[in-house]
Subunit: 214 residues, 2 copies
Amino acid sequence: MRQIIEERTGSFSRSPQLVEAPAANLRVAAHTTVLHEGDPARRIMEVVEGAVMLTKLLPDGRRQVVELLGPGDVFGLAHDEAYACSAETLTPSVISTHERSALERDPVLAARLLRRFEAQLCVMHSHALVLGRMSALERVAFFLLRLMPEGMVGGATLHLSMTRQEIADFLGLTLETVSRAFSELKRRGLVALLRADEVRIQDRGSMRRLAGAA
Amino acid sequence: MRQIIEERTGSFSRSPQLVEAPAANLRVAAHTTVLHEGDPARRIMEVVEGAVMLTKLLPDGRRQVVELLGPGDVFGLAHDEAYACSAETLTPSVISTHERSALERDPVLAARLLRRFEAQLCVMHSHALVLGRMSALERVAFFLLRLMPEGMVGGATLHLSMTRQEIADFLGLTLETVSRAFSELKRRGLVALLRADEVRIQDRGSMRRLAGAA
DNA sequence: CTCTACCATTGAGAAAGATCAACGGCGGAG
DNA sequence: CTCCGCCGTTGATCTTTCTCAATGGTAGAG
């Protein structure tokens, strides 16, 4: 896996204190595992460009995609010195990495991470509501609204860079249930499927109602 | 609700910069709603003593307990200037509150919050795995292990300060399913129920296996 | 151009959990 | 002390989602 295409020292978050804790920018292909759950947690990372998913596994192989990340989001968090999640790119991405020790030395970095952690924690709270209390159809509606930037015009079509299995692992469903939910949304006219991975939201109002005011 | 019993200016995190952003410690009775989802987010809070649960509601009344907090944990997070969750005490608690602006002025506070956010984000990742991929029995086992401090001796009994409904709302189940799971764990000898809210873990190994190495 | 993965869709049957309902116990109010 | 109300338990049934299985589409390799 780890098909890191390019690595260069970062022009990102450079500051006088950072002499021995350099930031590095990685350019990574799609479908690359950037880090592994359980590995020693040496660095903390930010998505600069692209999309990354964080996953956790149960011993028997059940998988949960715990978070979907875009530009600005932070990952590589540690519990007991080990990464709590694996991270895999969904699209070609640029990732900025920092020594963990830089957190104590670089207040600008620390402040940015603090703001971002707060945002990501709020998103996780919403996701808990989705996973704990929403039906399959509601989950898929929520997922599509979350991907579709608010200001996006009605005509624009959304490209999904996830398979049905990945969406299912994110929403706590099976791939068949996700597929059925897509078909149901299409049948109700809330959504148009140009291709399996090309979606247009037709009736945003009904989608929002389904997703519980997302 | 809001039965605040006592308020006093905090001896907590006092620092020279904090002249106009004082910390305040609140002493709060059990079963008190400390803040409401949607209210303007003016302050950020830390649990000093006691236990707090964060909840979110869907428009039709379905509820999810998104996080359980103990001493050191932070809440009062905001999305768009409004609290993302309601917060309710489970036991009599002491809560320290800070102006949000203190975050920019008090680096000690900011550093503490950064560490805590990272820990809470990791816990939320685990919880997503629980909600998305675990069976009812596994969820309840996970819940009990999470409450039972690691070092706790076999003989010690755990007091649950949550009703079956609250546990269900935390685990994404119904209260009946939670009750059945407790009975099943008892029947299998993994747990002893002295009273409905008094539990002893009898077979920690089997519990850990059920909970997927929690 | 064709073949071949892989991915998505759809259907039928099974299982887990939700819902509806009745009963029992414990604790606080009077 | 007794009553009443809330909470928990258990049972029966129903719904949703999972599981298993077959079929169809699409994109990349040869």
